[in-house]
Amino acid sequence: MTFQEFLHMGGHGFYVWSSYGIALVIFVGLYLSTRLKNKKLVEQLQRRYRQEQREQ
Protein backbone atom coordinates (compact mmCIF):
# COMPACT_ATOMS: atom_id res chain seq x y z
CA MET A 1 0.00 0.00 0.00
CA THR A 2 1.81 3.12 -1.05
CA PHE A 3 1.84 6.07 1.27
CA GLN A 4 -0.35 7.93 -1.23
CA GLU A 5 -3.11 5.34 -0.96
CA PHE A 6 -2.71 5.33 2.80
CA LEU A 7 -3.41 9.04 2.84
CA HIS A 8 -6.25 8.74 0.36
CA MET A 9 -7.98 5.96 2.34
CA GLY A 10 -10.27 5.03 -0.50
CA GLY A 11 -11.81 8.48 -0.75
CA HIS A 12 -12.60 8.75 2.97
CA GLY A 13 -9.15 10.09 3.89
CA PHE A 14 -10.45 13.52 4.75
CA TYR A 15 -12.95 12.21 7.31
CA VAL A 16 -10.61 9.74 8.97
CA TRP A 17 -7.71 12.15 9.20
CA SER A 18 -9.82 15.06 10.40
CA SER A 19 -11.29 13.04 13.26
CA TYR A 20 -7.84 11.75 14.30
CA GLY A 21 -6.49 15.29 13.97
CA ILE A 22 -9.19 16.74 16.21
CA ALA A 23 -8.63 13.91 18.68
CA LEU A 24 -4.92 14.73 18.77
CA VAL A 25 -5.65 18.43 19.29
CA ILE A 26 -7.99 17.71 22.19
CA PHE A 27 -5.71 15.22 23.91
CA VAL A 28 -2.68 17.50 23.60
CA GLY A 29 -4.85 20.46 24.62
CA LEU A 30 -5.99 18.65 27.78
CA TYR A 31 -2.42 17.79 28.68
CA LEU A 32 -1.06 21.28 28.01
CA SER A 33 -3.86 23.11 29.80
CA THR A 34 -3.25 21.00 32.90
CA ARG A 35 0.51 21.53 32.75
CA LEU A 36 0.19 25.29 32.20
CA LYS A 37 -2.25 25.61 35.07
CA ASN A 38 0.13 23.70 37.28
CA LYS A 39 3.09 25.85 36.30
CA LYS A 40 1.10 29.05 36.85
CA LEU A 41 -0.06 27.86 40.29
CA VAL A 42 3.40 26.78 41.38
CA GLU A 43 4.97 30.08 40.32
CA GLN A 44 2.20 32.07 41.99
CA LEU A 45 2.57 30.14 45.25
CA GLN A 46 6.36 30.38 45.23
CA ARG A 47 6.16 34.12 44.68
CA ARG A 48 3.70 34.34 47.58
CA TYR A 49 5.90 32.27 49.91
CA ARG A 50 8.93 34.43 49.07
CA GLN A 51 6.75 37.41 49.91
CA GLU A 52 5.87 35.89 53.26
CA GLN A 53 9.53 35.09 53.97
CA ARG A 54 10.46 38.69 53.26
CA GLU A 55 7.86 39.97 55.67
CA GLN A 56 8.88 37.73 58.58
Binding site: M9, Y15, S19, I22, A23, L30, T34, L45
Partner: protein, 245 residues
Protein backbone atom coordinates in the same frame (compact mmCIF):
# COMPACT_ATOMS: atom_id res chain seq x y z
CA UNK B 1 -6.56 -1.86 57.35
CA UNK B 2 -8.78 -0.66 54.54
CA UNK B 3 -9.94 2.32 56.60
CA UNK B 4 -6.34 3.34 57.09
CA UNK B 5 -5.68 3.02 53.36
CA UNK B 6 -8.76 5.10 52.68
CA UNK B 7 -7.51 7.77 55.07
CA UNK B 8 -4.15 7.88 53.37
CA UNK B 9 -5.87 8.42 50.02
CA UNK B 10 -8.11 11.20 51.25
CA UNK B 11 -5.33 13.27 52.75
CA UNK B 12 -4.05 15.70 50.13
CA UNK B 13 -0.46 15.37 51.30
CA UNK B 14 -0.26 11.61 50.82
CA UNK B 15 -2.18 11.99 47.53
CA UNK B 16 0.61 14.26 46.35
CA UNK B 17 3.31 11.77 47.39
CA UNK B 18 1.53 8.87 45.70
CA UNK B 19 0.90 10.72 42.44
CA UNK B 20 4.48 11.98 42.34
CA UNK B 21 5.68 8.58 41.23
CA UNK B 22 2.39 7.19 39.89
CA UNK B 23 1.39 9.83 37.32
CA UNK B 24 4.35 10.04 34.92
CA UNK B 25 4.39 6.28 34.12
CA UNK B 26 0.60 6.26 33.77
CA UNK B 27 0.76 9.11 31.31
CA UNK B 28 3.60 7.57 29.29
CA UNK B 29 1.97 4.14 29.13
CA UNK B 30 -1.34 5.63 27.97
CA UNK B 31 0.37 7.69 25.25
CA UNK B 32 2.33 4.67 24.01
CA UNK B 33 -0.79 2.51 23.99
CA UNK B 34 -2.64 5.19 22.10
CA UNK B 35 0.08 5.33 19.48
CA UNK B 36 0.04 1.55 19.09
CA UNK B 37 -3.75 1.58 18.94
CA UNK B 38 -3.74 4.32 16.30
CA UNK B 39 -1.13 2.49 14.26
CA UNK B 40 -3.16 -0.71 14.40
CA UNK B 41 -6.43 1.07 13.81
CA UNK B 42 -5.23 3.17 10.88
CA UNK B 43 -2.81 0.89 9.17
CA UNK B 44 -3.12 -2.67 10.20
CA UNK B 45 -6.87 -3.38 10.57
CA UNK B 46 -9.24 -4.41 7.75
CA UNK B 47 -11.70 -2.02 6.16
CA UNK B 48 -15.41 -2.50 6.64
CA UNK B 49 -17.21 -4.06 3.63
CA UNK B 50 -19.86 -1.34 3.69
CA UNK B 51 -18.22 1.79 5.07
CA UNK B 52 -14.69 1.28 3.78
CA UNK B 53 -12.07 3.22 5.66
CA UNK B 54 -14.44 5.44 7.59
CA UNK B 55 -14.86 2.63 10.09
CA UNK B 56 -11.42 3.65 11.36
CA UNK B 57 -13.08 6.62 13.03
CA UNK B 58 -14.71 4.10 15.33
CA UNK B 59 -11.37 3.66 17.12
CA UNK B 60 -11.70 7.21 18.42
CA UNK B 61 -15.47 7.56 18.61
CA UNK B 62 -16.38 4.49 20.63
CA UNK B 63 -13.63 4.77 23.28
CA UNK B 64 -14.26 8.49 23.85
CA UNK B 65 -18.00 7.83 24.15
CA UNK B 66 -17.34 5.12 26.71
CA UNK B 67 -14.87 7.35 28.55
CA UNK B 68 -17.43 10.16 28.71
CA UNK B 69 -20.16 7.92 30.10
CA UNK B 70 -17.73 6.24 32.52
CA UNK B 71 -16.36 9.68 33.48
CA UNK B 72 -19.79 11.01 34.38
CA UNK B 73 -20.55 8.04 36.63
CA UNK B 74 -17.18 8.31 38.40
CA UNK B 75 -17.67 12.07 38.75
CA UNK B 76 -21.12 11.54 40.26
CA UNK B 77 -19.82 8.94 42.70
CA UNK B 78 -16.98 11.26 43.75
CA UNK B 79 -19.44 14.13 44.18
CA UNK B 80 -21.78 11.92 46.21
CA UNK B 81 -18.97 10.71 48.47
CA UNK B 82 -17.79 14.30 48.90
CA UNK B 83 -21.31 15.50 49.70
CA UNK B 84 -22.28 12.73 52.11
CA UNK B 85 -19.03 12.33 54.06
CA UNK B 86 -17.82 15.86 53.46
CA UNK B 87 -14.47 14.72 52.03
CA UNK B 88 -12.89 17.65 50.23
CA UNK B 89 -10.68 15.38 48.14
CA UNK B 90 -13.75 13.71 46.64
CA UNK B 91 -15.16 17.12 45.63
CA UNK B 92 -11.83 18.05 44.09
CA UNK B 93 -11.82 14.77 42.17
CA UNK B 94 -15.33 15.40 40.82
CA UNK B 95 -14.36 18.90 39.82
CA UNK B 96 -11.25 17.64 38.02
CA UNK B 97 -13.02 14.86 36.13
CA UNK B 98 -15.74 17.18 34.76
CA UNK B 99 -13.69 19.08 32.15
CA UNK B 100 -11.94 15.89 31.00
CA UNK B 101 -15.29 14.14 30.67
CA UNK B 102 -16.75 17.11 28.83
CA UNK B 103 -13.80 17.08 26.41
CA UNK B 104 -14.36 13.36 25.78
CA UNK B 105 -18.06 13.94 25.14
CA UNK B 106 -17.23 16.75 22.74
CA UNK B 107 -14.71 14.56 20.96
CA UNK B 108 -17.23 11.71 20.73
CA UNK B 109 -19.81 14.10 19.26
CA UNK B 110 -17.39 15.54 16.70
CA UNK B 111 -16.05 12.18 15.57
CA UNK B 112 -19.62 10.83 15.51
CA UNK B 113 -20.70 13.68 13.24
CA UNK B 114 -17.65 13.26 10.96
CA UNK B 115 -18.33 9.54 10.80
CA UNK B 116 -21.97 10.23 9.90
CA UNK B 117 -21.12 12.33 6.84
CA UNK B 118 -19.78 9.56 4.58
CA UNK B 119 -22.02 6.81 5.93
CA UNK B 120 -25.35 8.62 6.24
CA UNK B 121 -24.70 11.61 4.03
CA UNK B 122 -25.36 14.32 6.63
CA UNK B 123 -23.21 15.85 9.28
CA UNK B 124 -25.64 15.32 12.15
CA UNK B 125 -27.89 12.29 12.47
CA UNK B 126 -30.27 12.01 15.42
CA UNK B 127 -28.89 8.59 16.14
CA UNK B 128 -29.66 7.27 19.59
CA UNK B 129 -26.02 7.11 20.71
CA UNK B 130 -25.14 10.56 19.44
CA UNK B 131 -28.21 12.11 21.06
CA UNK B 132 -27.39 10.54 24.43
CA UNK B 133 -23.86 11.90 24.07
CA UNK B 134 -25.28 15.35 23.36
CA UNK B 135 -27.47 15.26 26.49
CA UNK B 136 -24.50 13.99 28.49
CA UNK B 137 -22.56 16.99 27.23
CA UNK B 138 -25.32 19.28 28.57
CA UNK B 139 -25.11 17.54 31.95
CA UNK B 140 -21.34 18.08 32.08
CA UNK B 141 -21.70 21.74 31.11
CA UNK B 142 -24.46 22.15 33.69
CA UNK B 143 -22.21 20.68 36.38
CA UNK B 144 -19.31 23.00 35.56
CA UNK B 145 -21.54 26.07 35.12
CA UNK B 146 -23.23 25.52 38.48
CA UNK B 147 -19.93 25.01 40.23
CA UNK B 148 -18.38 28.17 38.82
CA UNK B 149 -21.52 30.21 39.64
CA UNK B 150 -20.71 30.03 43.35
CA UNK B 151 -18.03 32.38 44.70
CA UNK B 152 -17.51 30.19 47.76
CA UNK B 153 -15.88 27.06 46.31
CA UNK B 154 -17.09 24.83 49.07
CA UNK B 155 -20.73 25.70 48.40
CA UNK B 156 -20.10 25.20 44.71
CA UNK B 157 -18.84 21.71 45.49
CA UNK B 158 -21.89 20.79 47.50
CA UNK B 159 -24.35 22.28 45.02
CA UNK B 160 -22.68 20.59 42.05
CA UNK B 161 -22.61 17.40 44.12
CA UNK B 162 -26.38 17.43 44.48
CA UNK B 163 -26.74 18.12 40.77
CA UNK B 164 -24.38 15.24 39.89
CA UNK B 165 -26.32 12.86 42.11
CA UNK B 166 -29.63 13.88 40.55
CA UNK B 167 -28.00 13.73 37.10
CA UNK B 168 -26.58 10.25 37.49
CA UNK B 169 -30.01 8.94 38.47
CA UNK B 170 -31.33 10.39 35.21
CA UNK B 171 -28.55 9.13 32.90
CA UNK B 172 -29.97 5.59 32.48
CA UNK B 173 -33.49 7.04 32.10
CA UNK B 174 -32.27 9.43 29.41
CA UNK B 175 -30.34 6.59 27.77
CA UNK B 176 -33.31 4.26 27.46
CA UNK B 177 -35.84 6.93 26.57
CA UNK B 178 -33.59 8.19 23.75
CA UNK B 179 -33.12 4.62 22.48
CA UNK B 180 -36.88 4.04 22.63
CA UNK B 181 -37.46 7.35 20.88
CA UNK B 182 -34.92 6.36 18.25
CA UNK B 183 -36.62 3.04 17.47
CA UNK B 184 -39.88 4.97 17.19
CA UNK B 185 -38.50 7.09 14.33
CA UNK B 186 -35.98 4.50 13.05
CA UNK B 187 -35.35 5.21 9.36
CA UNK B 188 -31.69 4.59 8.76
CA UNK B 189 -31.13 0.82 8.79
CA UNK B 190 -27.31 0.61 9.01
CA UNK B 191 -26.51 -0.02 12.60
CA UNK B 192 -22.96 0.76 13.67
CA UNK B 193 -20.96 -2.45 13.85
CA UNK B 194 -21.70 -3.91 17.30
CA UNK B 195 -18.66 -4.87 19.39
CA UNK B 196 -19.28 -8.61 19.42
CA UNK B 197 -19.76 -9.16 15.71
CA UNK B 198 -16.45 -7.46 14.84
CA UNK B 199 -13.52 -9.41 13.42
CA UNK B 200 -10.70 -9.79 15.93
CA UNK B 201 -8.32 -7.54 13.94
CA UNK B 202 -10.77 -4.70 14.56
CA UNK B 203 -11.50 -5.66 18.14
CA UNK B 204 -7.93 -5.52 19.40
CA UNK B 205 -7.21 -1.92 18.34
CA UNK B 206 -10.60 -0.86 19.65
CA UNK B 207 -10.09 -2.37 23.08
CA UNK B 208 -6.51 -1.12 23.14
CA UNK B 209 -7.63 2.42 22.33
CA UNK B 210 -10.42 2.20 24.88
CA UNK B 211 -8.02 1.21 27.65
CA UNK B 212 -5.46 3.81 26.54
CA UNK B 213 -7.96 6.68 26.40
CA UNK B 214 -9.53 5.85 29.76
CA UNK B 215 -6.06 5.57 31.29
CA UNK B 216 -5.10 8.90 29.75
CA UNK B 217 -8.25 10.58 31.08
CA UNK B 218 -7.66 9.16 34.56
CA UNK B 219 -4.09 10.42 34.51
CA UNK B 220 -5.12 13.89 33.37
CA UNK B 221 -7.89 14.06 35.98
CA UNK B 222 -5.50 12.98 38.72
CA UNK B 223 -3.10 15.63 37.51
CA UNK B 224 -5.87 18.20 37.72
CA UNK B 225 -6.63 17.08 41.26
CA UNK B 226 -3.06 18.02 42.13
CA UNK B 227 -3.68 21.48 40.72
CA UNK B 228 -6.87 21.74 42.69
CA UNK B 229 -5.04 20.80 45.89
CA UNK B 230 -2.37 23.42 45.23
CA UNK B 231 -5.05 25.97 44.60
CA UNK B 232 -7.15 25.19 47.67
CA UNK B 233 -4.56 24.26 50.31
CA UNK B 234 -2.17 27.04 49.44
CA UNK B 235 -1.42 28.14 52.98
CA UNK B 236 -0.72 24.66 54.33
CA UNK B 237 2.91 24.39 55.30
CA UNK B 238 3.51 21.01 53.66
CA UNK B 239 2.95 22.81 50.38
CA UNK B 240 5.34 25.56 51.41
CA UNK B 241 8.11 23.06 52.07
CA UNK B 242 7.39 21.15 48.89
CA UNK B 243 7.42 24.28 46.73
CA UNK B 244 10.25 26.15 48.30
CA UNK B 245 12.47 23.02 48.37
Amino acid sequence: MTWQWFNRLTSPKSYFDITDWLLPPMLIISVILMMVGTYLGLYDSPIDYQQGNTVRIMYIHVPTATASMFGYVVMAIAAAVGYIWRIKMAHMAALSIAPVGAAMTFLALVTGAIWGKPTWGTWWVWDARLTTELILFFLYVGFMALHSAFEDRELGDRAAGVLAMVGVVNVPIIHYSVYWWNTLHQKSSISVAGKASMPVEMLTPLLLMMFAIILFCTAISMYRIRNEILDRERDKNWIKERLSA
